[in-house]
């Protein structure tokens, strides 16, 4: 199950709508091992494409170094589909490289850049196996456990 706060959910949806018809992509970082998606980072889609996304390699290194310095990991990896359903494509499955992350797919195929609901679904992708999970949107994440 993915538990995500409303502001982060809205931020992902807004990013997907803004970049439509190209795919939008990014992550939500959180403390290592916490499963808390706390810090939304919108990434540039270096492919600039309606059918493919790829983090820019230089921007991606900066992102990971920043996360390492904060003891964070990518809790959510998200991208949008702009003409198809919010389900991982074969390419998504083949390239999935964060076995601990929630892979969020947003589909903007219904309303594009405009107001209106989107499909927002979450998956685990491990060793080529996809399993969908529930998404629970909360007003705010519960307080972090003291560690």
């Amino acid at each position: 199950m993915l538990t995500i706060d409303q502001a982060t959910y809205d931020g992902i949806v807004a990013h997907a709508k803004k970049d439509h018809p190209d795919e939008a992509c990014g992550i939500v970082a959180g403390p290592e091992g916490s499963d808390r998606p706390e810090r939304l980072v919108e990434m540039v889609n270096a492919a600039g494409s309606p059918t493919f996304y790829e983090f820019d390699s230089t921007e991606m290194l900066a992102l990971y170094k920043d996360m390492w310095s904060r003891d964070e990991e990518p809790v959510v990896v998200y991208h949008s589909h702009t003409a198809t359903e919010a389900y991982p494509s074969r390419t998504d499955i083949g390239l999935a490289s964060e076995p601990g992350a929630h892979y969020v797919l947003v589909s903007t195929r219904e309303h594009g850049n405009n107001e209106g609901p989107v499909e927002f679904r979450s998956y685990r992708i491990v060793n080529g196996e996809v399993s969908e999970e529930d998404v629970v949107v909360v007003p705010e994440l519960p307080p972090a456990e003291t560690r």
């Binding site: 992509c25 992550i27 990434m43 492919a47 059918t51 493919f52 996304y53 790829e54 983090f55 390699s57 230089t58 991606m60 290194l61 990971y64 990991e73 990896v77 991208h79 991982p88 494509s89 074969r90 390419t91 998504d92 390239l95 999935a96 490289s97 964060e98 076995p99 601990g100």
Partner: protein, 95 residues
Amino acid sequence: MAVEVRIPTILRNLTGEQKAVTAEGGTLSAVIDDLEANHPGIKDRLVEAGPGDGVGLRRFVNVYVNDEDVRFIGGLDAEVTDGDQVVVLPAVAGG
């Protein structure tokens, strides 16, 4: 010529869950061969056949030497010197 190599989560099963390991070599290619000697299986995750008879870095694996994407500094022939930091990051990509 020892360098530190940062290992991504998905390859840590090959390094005994270590986040970083040391390796030796004067080029990225030599560093990868040294990694393979100590962590068998890792080379195949980093390089693939081609172009021609040779091998090249896998398309969806990013390798950086001192923050430079090696694709811009010679690929597998990129020079590596003592104390350099090598980072391996699988591309975050899809369709």
